[in-house]
Symmetry: C2
Subunit: 191 residues, 2 copies
Amino acid sequence: MTKTPQRRRIYLAGPEVFLPNALELGAEKCRLVAEAGLEGVFPHDPKLKAQPAGNGVEAERIFFANTALLSSCDALIANLTPFRGVSADAGTVFELGFMFALRRPIAAYTNTAESYHARTAVFRDRAGFADADRPECEVEDHDLSDNLMLEMALIASGARLIRHPSPGAPDMTDLTAFRRCLEALAQRLGS
Amino acid sequence: MTKTPQRRRIYLAGPEVFLPNALELGAEKCRLVAEAGLEGVFPHDPKLKAQPAGNGVEAERIFFANTALLSSCDALIANLTPFRGVSADAGTVFELGFMFALRRPIAAYTNTAESYHARTAVFRDRAGFADADRPECEVEDHDLSDNLMLEMALIASGARLIRHPSPGAPDMTDLTAFRRCLEALAQRLGS
């Protein structure tokens, strides 16, 4: 009896789950992951939203589905393109920290080439948005693309944040950087 | 021989580490934590910055210091007040995901009363900042204060996000919500 070896499962974290064509985008990512000899897991299940939702019930359902998927995966690729602020999507960052704590390989990319420091300067000039930042707050200047905890975790995991600017404003659906990130992860995993 | 029982160590995550008076703010938080019978651990060590810094060396030093402190702690309190965007500080969110994955008790607070949904609407109207958000992106509407992964992780951990608006714009140094959060955590830990 021979067994087909199970493909390593890769959790595909990113804010594209919020787009109307999320399923289509996820399917394309999963297709590329399969080409690399791995199995893509895209955390978007319309069934979770189709069920009756009470106060917080839908949020709970999505949370437990996502954490179950995370736990079932061998590694993670995070889309850290800035989302609703200077940094990456908060849910994606949470998932990055989660998988890093479990010592599973993490990888990530961003579709902007600008540093965190440069983006913060622009944000402070134009935002007019009431958050807790203050002019006297230090702005990390390590030539990194986001908070150092995210990028140094990637390095500690054996990766590095892949930066590739999409044309124009950062486009979270551009897959150029994702492909490079996937290629490097597949090599790390020996697939 | 009697041993003095070790106090449970609480990692105090939040963007106040970027303020010029971070040490003083951290000392005040640690004082309150000690009053509650626990030991506060504030991740800010000026010595890490005083050493010679090369390309990325300082970032690496801070990352490994922080993850070592996280690993040494029994629980975490996160300041999730919005910072440089709609969501909480990215480093703080990373640390929240990290401790949740290790199944250590997590607690958090935010010094704004507005929902994530309401803040996103304001951000989209006024920002003029090039991130990857798009008008057609779904905005979570679960009456939560941030991305559902963060808040539902708190609930799964036996807590809830404490919301208390500081007067005016969100003030990350206001400790009203922190005190409530600490009180609830001390009860959970039986201290």
